[in-house]
């Protein structure tokens, strides 16, 4: 089973050494230019009034990204800020808020958050999208797997028009869908997870793709 997390939830997460000492908190998550992977984290201090730290945490040094903490081998792996915030910092940081456009040219919403996988890989699994009415009148937010996106930049996220068939309502059902997707199974036309909230199993198939 894969555990999925929202990048926004990583902010404030404790950075803990395998020796059991908390050394910092996550301030921001930095993605590579194509938003395919986590490059690293900028850090802030742990106190109530602590400000940003000069150090950052490259993802290559992370032992594991967990739901309760980001585990690192020791405090020695923390690096200067430039190790994470490279020259393309702007491109990596501006995924959230970017418009989501189908390959048919319709804007269907904006990127609200990035879904990442717990563990050691730091892969971006998908995106949470604040959907416009013309994409999905029933739901304000939907999840789109990254495998269904065509291209990402700081300016826009382009998804296939049929991406509507791959959306999910909440993170657990999205996780199940991503697993099915990885297992090579053909994704169902309708996004109806059996364990979703009551209003989530309204099938959206049969609407036809909007050009």
């Amino acid at each position: 089973m894969i555990t999925l997390m929202l990048a926004s939830d990583l902010a404030g997460r404790e950075v803990v050494t395998l020796g059991g000492d908390a050394v910092a908190r996550v301030k921001d998550t930095v993605f590579d230019a194509a938003a395919g992977r986590i490059t690293g984290f900028t850090l802030s201090g742990r106190g109530l009034l602590a400000g940003p730290l000069k150090q950052s945490l490259p993802f290559s040094a992370v032992h594991a990204l967990g739901p309760a903490a980001v585990m690192i081998p020791s405090a020695a792996v923390l690096d200067g800020r430039e190790a994470v915030l490279g020259s393309d910092a702007a491109g990596g940081g501006a995924v959230i808020g970017a418009p989501v456009i189908t390959d048919q040219g319709t804007e269907i919403g904006t990127v609200r958050d990035v879904v990442v996988e717990a563990g050691t890989a730091g892969h971006v699994i998908g995106f949470e999208i604040a959907a416009h009415d013309n994409f999905d009148a029933r739901r304000r937010k939907v999840f789109v797997p990254r495998g269904q996106t065509l291209a990402v930049s700081g300016e826009a996220l382009v998804v296939p028009a049929r991406a509507r068939h791959f959306v999910a309502d909440d993170l657990p059902s999205f996780g199940a869908q991503v697993e099915a997707f990885r297992a090579g199974a053909r994704l169902p036309e309708a996004d109806s997870p059996p364990s979703g909230p009551p209003d989530s199993d309204i099938p959206v198939s049969g609407e036809g793709d909007r050009a």
């Binding site: 089973m1 803990v16 395998l18 059991g20 585990m71």
Partner: protein
Amino acid sequence: MMLFTQTRGLPVITAEEAATLGTVDALTIDARTRSVACLRLSGAPKDRAVLGWGAVEAVGHDAVIVRSRVAVGAGPDEVPEHRDAVGSRVLTEYGVEHGTVKDVGYDPGTGKILTLYTALGDIAGDDLIGLGTYAVVVRAERH
């Protein structure tokens, strides 16, 4: 097996003089060796407040026995910084919370940590990786 909570409060008595040096206040774990490094005593003079595990002859249900005042000496040269394991938060190496440590079971002969007891299940002492100010870190199955 003895528990940390059973050991706390036991008197420390020398075998040769039958004198009480103090009572056990806390046990300090060395996470690298996964064993008890020293006992911290209350009611003992300040320079004798730390009792190295090497000086301990026996840990029973009613007392901790050391050979003599002389054998105890001035305490061990080097002890790991004391962190209370009991009550500490438990994290797996994958950053997943696993409750808090309720008690620690150890071998009274060797001082080896045998089991960490948490509300979410027991953890073998061999899985202990680190013990710091923030958490006890334990090895975990990848899932």
